[in-house]
């Protein structure tokens, strides 16, 4: 007896029968090419563009990166997002600028207490654009801290820390602490009178914590007195330990942002209650 075909279930449609989903808002250069031209019509520029596309395609075939990037960069955001929503990205950009200028300052800086000040004088007065790069790093630190606090205030005022985004708030507070630690350890490095005495006071402030304070101060100084190990210790914490932690925490922070989506501003209401598909 021949097997009877199953009655068609309306829920079991073939993919080709489904309505075509709308194109994601891709920039023109990433949209699929409609139709290849005749070889004789291809200009040099187009051939070069095709070559670039094939390189991207080669990488994409081996990494499946485009799906991730499309989901990450072109994700849906709720109605009403505004300039206040760019503060997190701005803070991250400030961090990248700090990392970049910091690497180049490290090429000339010497964390030895006897020559640290002299190496900073050399950077500021003699190295080409040295004062400019040092200035970007110095003022960029303030910019990053200010942006971070404004970003935090935006999150608080818009209620964006509430369920399910509490963990992202916690990660953000850790990032705030790491940034404070960067400011504290970086302040010593120019090694002038101001940075030296500010660090003395800052370390002793740590020492005033009950029970654990004296040990914390000894850890920061690398001993009972401000000695030969203190400056290299601050330098290592400033340029290796904390930046690595910040980069890792930014990764977690961004993953959670992409995973959980962006909150709408508190004044935006769903237009049709119960039928709004936007993640608000």
């Amino acid at each position: 007896m021949p097997k009877m075909p199953k009655p068609s279930n309306p829920l079991h449609k073939k993919v080709s029968d489904l309505p075509k989903p709308p194109m994601p808002p891709l920039p023109p250069s990433l949209r699929p090419n409609p139709k290849p031209k005749e070889r004789s019509e291809v200009t040099v520029g187009e051939a070069a563009a095709a070559g670039g596309t094939s390189v991207v395609a080669w990488i994409d075939e081996r990494t499946s990166g485009s799906g991730f990037l499309r989901g990450f960069l072109f994700r849906k955001v709720p109605k009403g997002v505004n300039w206040w929503y760019t503060l997190g990205s701005a803070t991250m950009f400030a961090f990248i600028a700090q990392a970049f200028t910091g690497v180049f300052l490290a090429m000339y800086y010497d964390p030895n207490p006897t020559v640290a000040y002299e190496s900073m004088r050399h950077i500021n007065n003699e190295v080409f654009l040295g004062e400019f790069v040092h200035g970007m790093h110095k003022w960029g630190a303030t910019v990053m801290t200010v942006l971070l606090f404004v970003h935090m205030a935006r999150t608080f005022v818009f209620g964006a820390y509430k369920y399910p985004r509490e963990l992202n708030w916690v990660v953000g507070v850790l990032l705030l602490m790491m940034t404070m630690m960067m400011g504290f350890t970086g302040y010593l490095l120019p090694f002038d009178q101001r940075s030296f005495w500010a660090t003395i006071v800052g370390v002793n402030l740590n020492g005033t914590g009950p029970m654990i304070g004296p040990y914390l101060a000894d850890f920061l100084r690398g001993g009972a007195e401000f000695g030969s190990t203190t400056l290299p210790r601050f330098y290592a914490i400033h340029m290796m330990l904390v930046p690595g932690l910040i980069a890792a925490l930014i990764g977690i922070h961004l993953y959670l942002v992409a995973k959980l989506g962006t909150t709408a501003p508190p004044w935006v209401k769903a237009e049709i209650p119960g039928q709004d598909e936007k993640r608000v």
């Binding site: 207490p113 006897t114 030296f196 005495w197 003395i200 006071v201 370390v203 002793n204 402030l205 020492g207 005033t208 009950p210 029970m211 304070g213 004296p214 040990y215 101060a217 000894d218 850890f219 100084r221 690398g222 001993g223 009972a224 007195e225 401000f226 000695g227 030969s228 190990t229």
Partner: protein, 217 residues
């Protein structure tokens, strides 16, 4: 109605009896579980092998005994009268330039007490609030701190501002007409010697319990 009482057989310790995937006769742990444990354990041991020494390396200075440096010659006995303080810069940590120097205010101890029997009074200029450099003002017979307004009297005792204890002192010795200074020590409000503490650490009453001295001093 009471529910029927189920007869419970105790669970077998053998994987085969419990019907786990990957079970073998006579085994109490599946091979997958065992290998997971081995991999985690080996990874943990390997990580601890580099992490623990590195951590000890970074935290070691907390527990390190401070080296007793040799006595420092600060000048002749006649250089330090009893009625005023004479400033003297000495190098406590060699090889790190200006950072390794401290300023002492020294005078002859014309009134030795059982607690302070040193021949000279050598007061550190490190403020007992947060470590700023205090300065002796002759007209006021006081030590004044520029940072947060701490003031100390002639003996280094707190007379105003935020400091929590008097200024630290140094041991002093006299030999062949020269004055030498030894180790730093802190004093409490009665000017009695107590183990050296950092600025900001209390040494009186209940509060001293919250600020333990360094483990090795």
């Amino acid at each position: 109605m009471t529910p029927e009482k189920e007869t419970k057989t105790p669970k077998s310790k053998f994987t085969a009896d419990r019907g786990w995937p990957g079970a073998f006769e006579g085994e109490t742990v599946t091979r997958r579980h065992f290998m997971t444990g081995v991999a985690l354990g080996a990874g943990g041991i390997a990580s601890a092998m580099f992490a623990l020494p590195a951590l000890g390396f970074a935290l070691g200075p907390i527990f390190e005994k401070t080296e007793h440096r040799s006595l420092l010659d600060v000048g002749a006995v006649e250089d330090f009268p009893a009625d005023t303080y004479t400033p003297q810069v000495v190098t406590t940590v060699a090889g790190i330039g200006e950072v390794g120097k401290i300023l002492l205010y020294i005078r002859k101890n014309d009134n030795p007490t059982p607690e302070q029997s040193w021949p000279f009074v050598a007061i550190s200029n490190r403020c007992a609030h947060l470590g700023c450099p205090v300065r002796y003002i002759e007209a006021a017979k006081s030590f004044i701190c520029p940072c947060h307004g701490g003031t100390y009297g002639f003996e280094g005792e707190v007379t105003g501002g935020p400091p929590v204890r008097p200024l630290d002192r140094f041991e002093t010795y006299v030999e062949n007409g020269r004055v030498f200074v030894g180790e730093r020590f802190s004093v409490n409000s009665q000017l009695e010697r107590v183990p050296t503490r950092d600025p900001g650490a209390h040494v009186d009453g209940f509060w001293q319990v919250l600020y333990p001295p360094r483990p090795t001093t």
